[in-house]
């Protein structure tokens, strides 16, 4: 123990106050080992340093692999061969600036890399093109040190000028940049500058303790491209810094990638990757069963029982913040009364929905956007469970002893129509009659602005939210007074203030304290019901190993191999 302490003291030397604070939290047991690794990575502590600190604290014997990591590396690594991957057809041109769909994201990361990789398997940020990053004292300025000797697939060296160009294009409000949904109110082009060829500094619009997520693989558009890149024609070259470079790309049909000889890391084991595009999930599953592909990049449990229940396939299951939100218009009766909103929440059988709609591949959520994916979640807040008697009691107190009728708008997407039916049936048990209006996504989202969208204007609406490494977007856009996706019209000054504090906080203890307050406030107000968190799923044949997927459809293959 004394040897461990002296080693720990040595490791503490030269660390910042914030880093030492996290070490204290780990030593005292207030921070679990996993949370320490996750938070430490956010503030830029390197993986070897985090590992050494954990080891010095006497917990090095535990494995760091999740079930997903274990399953993906069980087959022996073999050099050579072509890996065949089934992927969703990109909905539009593969343009790093505009890509928003799963198919496009999968393509983007085949040759593109981010400053930081948000690993769903390890649940922590890992250096990619940035070796380290650190904030100033209040988290309003972040400095990133870049990995040296990185080259693009065209042979050109990657420097801070490329990073500045990429980030300025992505954060420019004048551009058609999809990354603006993450950079809006956080970063402006003028806030990005090169300090030297291997150092980039980001000066933010406001302090932000989770900023590293905004330049990580979480912000899926943010792959680093060469300075001066014409994003519109990027699809013809796919120039990036990744382990693979473009072989061929055929719109709507597929793509091939071959090893990039200029890659900064070890050369990939595969001699080629071949992506086949599919318009829907059912043919992908049949293709895996029929040995037409080796891997399904990403799939959902609905309609996938044939591979989920078969021992013939390896399933990589990733913890994810992918979820659904059932919002109720706080400005339209009867939802103006929080007791009515709580009553709706009490009718829902969440474990039943996870079992029936997700085949168990998910986690029950409480009525706030904090969950197991985020270390700042306060685990002491009690879980809301189905309680029909309580729902009826609340309705009676609110003046609706015989229930009421309303309409729920939703979209045809994955299991959402079935979830809407579950909500309808559960609510009926408390006397609430819900009429469903389920339309295709084009009609449902409309223009995605207030007054032009079933999603944002419906009395009740049910929508999907994809995975993010930090809850910032879930806390702001759908719930703050100025939020752009506030379908519930939830306007609460106390909440707005708490969110501002949460976003700015660098310290995990402070974040968790504020998170607890937010969680309790949202349970009380219940502007939105959160049924469950959905795991990310990737499938392969047993002879494939080394896959590195994320729950937002990225699939890194630099360590992948396929045995005979």
């Amino acid at each position: 123990m004394s040897r461990g302490n002296s080693e720990l003291d040595r490791l503490r030397d030269g660390r910042t106050e914030l880093e030492n604070h996290y070490i204290d939290e780990l030593v005292s047991g207030r921070l679990s080992r996993r949370d320490f690794l996750r938070r430490g990575s956010v503030i830029g502590m390197s993986a070897p340093l985090l590992g050494a600190i954990v080891a010095a604290c006497g917990s090095s014997s535990k494995s760091t692999s999740s079930s997903g990591a274990a399953s993906t590396s069980s087959a022996p690594a073999t050099k050579g061969g072509t890996l065949r991957i089934a992927s969703v057809t990109p909905a539009a041109a593969v343009n790093p600036l505009t890509v928003s769909d799963a198919g496009g994201l999968t393509m983007l990361n085949q040759t593109g890399e981010f400053l930081i990789f948000d690993s769903n398997i390890k649940l922590q940020l890992q250096p990619m093109l940035a070796l380290s990053w650190s904030p100033n004292t209040d988290g309003s300025v972040w400095t990133f040190k870049l990995r040296p000797n990185v080259k693009f697939s065209n042979g050109a060296a990657m420097t801070s000028a490329d990073v500045v160009y990429t980030m300025q294009q992505l954060s420019d409000p004048k551009n058609a940049s999809n990354a603006l949904s993450a950079f809006g109110g956080v970063l402006m082009p003028s806030g990005v500058k090169a300090i030297d060829p291997l150092t980039v500094q980001f000066t933010l619009e406001a302090p932000n303790g989770n900023f590293p997520y905004a330049v990580s693989s979480d912000n899926y558009n943010a792959i680093i491209v060469p300075k001066g890149t014409d994003f519109g024609s990027w699809q013809s070259t796919f120039i990036g810094t990744g382990a693979f470079k473009l072989g061929s790309y055929t719109t709507n049909v597929g793509a091939t990638f071959v090893p990039n000889p200029n890659y900064w890391g070890p050369q990939p084991l595969l001699s080629m990757t071949s992506f086949k595009f599919y318009s829907s999930q059912a043919p992908m599953i049949l293709a895996l069963q029929g040995n037409d592909v080796d891997v399904i990049a990403q799939f959902t449990p609905a309609g996938a029982a044939a591979i989920l229940n078969s021992p013939q396939y390896k399933i990589i299951k990733l913890p994810s913040a992918n979820h659904r939100e059932l919002s109720m218009r706080n400005d339209i009766a009867p939802f103006t009364d929080p007791r009515v909103r709580q009553a709706v929440a009490y009718t829902l059988d969440r474990p039943g929905a996870v079992a029936a709609l997700l085949s168990g591949d998910g986690t029950v959520a409480n009525d706030y956007p904090f969950g197991p994916r985020f270390p700042s979640t306060d685990p002491t807040v009690p879980q809301r469970t189905q309680n029909i008697a309580m729902a009826k009691q609340l309705l009676a107190a609110a003046g609706h002893p015989n229930g009421f009728s309303t309409t729920l708008d939703s979209e045809i997407y994955e299991e959402i129509p079935e979830l809407a039916q579950v909500i309808q049936q559960d609510a009926a048990k408390a006397g609430i009659t819900i009429k469903l209006n389920i339309t295709n996504q084009t009609l449902y989202y409309g223009k995605s602005t207030y007054g032009n969208s079933n999603w944002l204007d419906g009395t009740m609406s049910l929508v999907d939210y994809g995975d993010r490494g930090s809850p910032n977007v879930y806390l702001t856009a759908p719930l703050t007074t100025t939020g752009t996706w506030n379908a519930a019209r939830f306007h609460n000054k106390e909440y707005d203030g708490l969110v501002k504090q949460y976003v700015a906080a660098l310290d995990l203890t402070a974040q968790r304290t504020i998170a607890g307050k937010i969680q309790r406030l949202l349970l009380q107000e219940t502007p939105v019901v959160y049924p469950y968190w959905i795991d990310g799923l990737t499938a392969s044949t047993p002879n494939v190993s080394g896959l590195n997927p994320t729950s937002i459809a990225q699939l890194y293959l630099n360590t992948a191999s396929k045995s005979a």
Binding site: A92, L180, S181, Q235, T251, F277, S280
Partner: protein
């Protein structure tokens, strides 16, 4: 005949222009816009406006239509690439699938119908009719999935996908098309066989057939020379009208068998508000449909002298 063809071509051009106007106007009243479709529902409004401006879809509708006319087929909003090559390869794939389906379907349907008519009321007639009608009611996605599970997954005889690897030879490509063609044949066999059966029975009951029998013509010769020629007329019409479906209406089969034909391209273009691509697809399907019906009319007139004479008048 030349006048007949020229008249039909003139009408076809007017129809195509009207079609382009209708599709363009309908494209404008669809909810959402191309920028939102490409960037996704959660994109910032400023990004959507910037992309809409870049694509030119914020300009007046007449300006957009004129731009489309003068740059036909133009650039796809969705793929940010020239429409020509994407459309040509999709059309090529659809034509290949349609031709292969016709090669199997038409002889099979006609033989089934004629055999049924020649044995009207007998067990073989009833069997063909019941089988044909039953297959007609099975949706393509059901028969397609069953075929894939049986012949690809369980037996491993045929590929799951309809897209052959790049550089595959003619016969390899055909092997990949066998499974997707079967659901199409199943859906259309009953229809064509029924028309062929009705046509054959009518021809068999006609005065000229009776005369041929009375003058001592052998039954086989009478059927070949007099009955088949006339019984095929309604069948030709049916085959021609199914061309539009076989070229542009195979979204389900194309999705299930991973075959990117013009049907799927059209469907995606409509979903993504890719109006130039949608226009190009609809007009291409329209042209194919009109060419096939023109060929059918010519074949019809060649088989039926009365129509030829009427056209000449």
């Amino acid at each position: 005949m030349a006048r007949f063809i020229l008249k039909r071509l003139g009408l076809a051009l007017i129809t195509l222009w009207l079609l382009s106007v209708i599709v363009f106007v309908l494209g404008q009243v669809l909810p959402s816009d191309p920028g939102r479709s490409i960037l996704g529902p959660l994109a910032a409004p400023s990004a959507v406006h910037a992309l809409d401006h870049q694509l030119g879809v914020d300009k007046p509708i007449l300006t957009q239509y004129w731009h489309w006319i003068t740059h036909f087929p133009g650039t796809s909003y969705q793929y940010q690439a020239p429409i020509g090559p994407i459309l040509t390869s999709a059309l090529g794939r659809s034509l290949k699938l349609a031709i292969f389906a016709f090669v199997i379907l038409v002889p099979l349907g006609i033989i089934g119908g004629v055999v049924s008519a020649l044995n009207a009321g007998k067990p073989i007639d009833r069997t063909i009719s019941i089988v044909g009608q039953s297959m007609l009611t099975v949706p393509e996605f059901v028969s397609g999935i069953v075929l894939i599970v049986v012949f690809s997954v369980e037996l491993g005889w045929l590929p799951v996908s309809a897209t052959a690897p790049t550089g595959s030879g003619f016969f390899t490509s055909l092997k990949y098309l066998i499974l997707p063609v079967i659901p199409l044949v199943m859906v259309l066999f009953g229809y064509i066989a029924r028309m062929a059966r009705v046509g054959t029975i009518e021809a068999l009951e006609s005065d000229y057939a009776r005369t041929a029998i009375l003058k001592g013509l052998p039954r086989g010769v009478m059927i070949r020379r007099h009955v088949l020629r006339n019984s095929l007329l309604p069948t030709i019409t049916v085959v021609a009208t199914q061309t539009g479906y076989l070229i542009g209406g195979l979204v389900v089969v194309e999705t299930l068998f991973r075959y990117n034909g013009i049907g799927l391209l059209t469907y995606n273009a409509a979903n993504q508000h890719d109006i130039p691509m949608l226009e190009a697809c609809v007009l291409t399907i329209g042209v194919v449909y009109m060419v096939v019906t023109l060929v059918a009319d010519i074949a019809f007139s060649l088989l039926n002298p009365r129509i030829r004479l009427k056209a000449a008048e």
